[in-house]
Symmetry: C2
Subunit: 393 residues, 2 copies
């Protein structure tokens, strides 16, 4: 190979890399980057600019390749003379995103960010400022508490943990009793999702301060499911041949919720322990669990919320005796990008299903989060919207 | 250089690396490694063996050097044919240790571990099984709660956060009022230290279940201090020329505690809001804050605990009017290794000081945690011991 050919190929490679990635200096990024609100105390990086680009930086003097991995795209960072690597992502949607760094083939958390549980690991997360971020801002209003509640589960024969939001005044107004929302996370997440990246307490404290939501208790437990014992398990590496998720997938958590969690909450908190004052909601997998559990036990709940987690069809209602009589609201929400690129696996058209329920005489609300996808900003907004409808009758 | 010379040099290098580090295979490590209790759910590494060695493992196919950095020693890991790096540390003290990985010069958290705030960063931590670990085990006993409490601080003109432990039965026995312990973390840590790596709730729940401690509330706030405004600040890179810590270093947190935290706790929790039922304790820097604050305001507290954080001398008592009359117990503890290698900066001989107070007629207790250093196992044991003395008069 001649030298000129080599230089030409290198130029082509460099150009094509330039197209596939964004690097500081030769990128068109607006230079108004600021440290992210999700950074560890005192950390200058990662940063976010007004376009929603993320700029990552890490010192790795001996490394040969460092990448920022966010929203399923890896961006190459470039090294300066001190061994410090820096690089930018493309603009991200408003709100919260999981991400990680790759250092010479190792996927690791960014030491600059706070850590969140999602994608089945504790790792980096970053909040892109949003136009409506004031609804989950920490303000000087009366605040409720997030409580870590440990309890023994008979149905699982083990200690378990949930987080419980109690509204402002819960400890001083000790004659008051409160409705309860059981609120579930998505797949690969756990009971920390809603209190951490979900900003549940701040959303509720702000709504209550504005007089826009009733005060209620929120219970956030761990809905991670295991393969049902009576369904043949696919071999490692094989795709499941039967329906997905497998029949009975939600039975384990349903049993835990009905036999352990609800009775524990009703005996340890000042709840209004009747179906009229009990709601269930969840995001993604948690929405699918909400659907299965409330269709199986409509006698226990009055309000249902599914955030990016399917919908309930007229056919579902016909097969669930008591549903139409008991349920006061079916709330369904999605991020707008999800509706542009529908996800399979949630069953049917969520908007059409919700409209059909309304025609059957069931009160519904269909909410679309603008310019967001299957991500936490959609779910923060979903909860914010849903909460204003809860326990109002 | 001849090939035989090269091979000889490589052999020398390999041998000397073998002496300077511990690697699996050629090390004498007992092969009974198990995943650490502090691992992320489902993660096989890091592991700990019966000697207290830590085995780290990470996939980093393109890396040239990977190290495990624990207890101020870096251990080289070795790469297998799949690009997975593995290596062991020397035996560690029982209990909790912060650690990190180095990948080609980048210091990063281990993606296998849970994360803890200490050394001024959120990062990896690992628990080495301890002979007495049952005292902080999660057992099927009645459990209290850890509550996240947000509040507005007038003295700082900002929202702040603390964690509050309420004992079992707090929500059901609503006529009961409780004593309060204000419990502070060390330097580079924050309000999450005692509830996370400190295991405060489990230590208390177990003691209360055994009838060995009275039920009381514990408040864990953020005692991070800023350089006092009226003391000249050393230039970056310079060592402070005056006393260390600088005069007035504890004034900021003292003001926050007295003007914001204690009144907020007394108005939001069912406390016994008198000095007889108020205690203060802390570890390291938090012990030094406890010393300064209780000597300045002995009229507000009855019980004092300092874990690896200095002691109180007869001279201190003479300069603190009311101290001798009001204080019911001065508790001082250290890890045994700290007493073998005394740390400077905490002032005087803690055992001699404590003995001298006892001779003055002040009740004291001096506790030594066996085979531990300036680390969390000493402080877990310190709290466990201190709690049995609290509010017993």
């Amino acid at each position: 190979m001649k030298i000129r050919t080599l230089i030409f190929l290198l130029a082509v490679i460099t150009c094509s890399m330039g197209l596939a990635q964004t690097v500081p200096g030769d990128s068109a990024a607006a230079e108004d980057f600021k440290p992210a609100s999700t950074n560890q105390p005192g950390r200058e990086f990662p940063q976010v600019n007004s376009e929603g680009r993320v700029r990552a930086r890490i010192s790795a003097p001996e490394a040969v390749r460092v990448q920022l991995d966010i929203s399923a795209v890896k961006y190459d960072l470039t090294k300066d003379e001190n061994g410090v690597w820096t690089g930018d992502s493309d603009p991200q949607d408003e709100g919260f995103h999981y991400y990680q760094l790759w250092i010479d083939g190792a996927a690791v958390p960014d030491p600059g960010s706070l850590y969140f549980y999602g994608a089945s690991r504790w790792g980096s997360g970053i909040d892109i400022p949003a136009q409506d971020q004031d609804f989950y801002a920490l303000r000087n209003v009366p605040h409720g508490q997030i409580r870590e509640q440990l309890y023994f589960s008979k149905s699982n024969d083990t200690m378990r943990r949930c987080f419980v939001y109690t509204p402002p005044g819960y400890d001083t107004d000790i004659s008051m009793r409160y409705p309860v929302l059981y609120l579930q996370h998505g797949g690969g997440e756990d009971e920390t999702g809603w209190p951490n990246q979900g900003k549940t307490n701040l959303i509720m404290d702000n709504l209550i301060a504005e007089g826009r939501a009733r005060s209620f208790i929120i219970v956030m437990d761990n809905g991670t499911w295991r393969w049902p014992e009576n369904v043949p398990r696919p071999k490692p590496g094989e795709r499941p041949s039967g329906p997905w998720p497998p029949k009975g997938w939600a039975d384990g958590f349903m049993k835990t919720l009905l036999e352990d969690i609800i009775p524990m909450i009703d005996s340890n908190y000042r709840t209004l322990a009747d179906p009229e004052h009990r709601a269930m909601a969840g995001l993604s997998m948690g929405g699918m669990q909400t659907r299965v559990i409330t269709l199986a036990h409509p006698e226990l709940f009055s309000y249902i919320g599914m955030f990016s987690g399917g919908s309930i069809s007229p056919e579902d209602v016909k097969n669930a005796p008591g549903f139409k009589e008991n349920i006061k609201l079916v709330f369904v929400s999605y991020g707008s990008h999800e509706l542009e690129n529908p996800r399979r696996g949630f069953g049917g058209d969520p908007k059409a299903n919700t409209g059909a329920l309304e025609e059957m005489g069931i009160k519904t609300h269909f909410y679309v989060s603008p310019n967001t996808a299957h991500e936490w900003q959609s779910w923060r907004r979903g909860l914010h919207e849903f909460a204003t409808y809860l326990f109002q009758e």
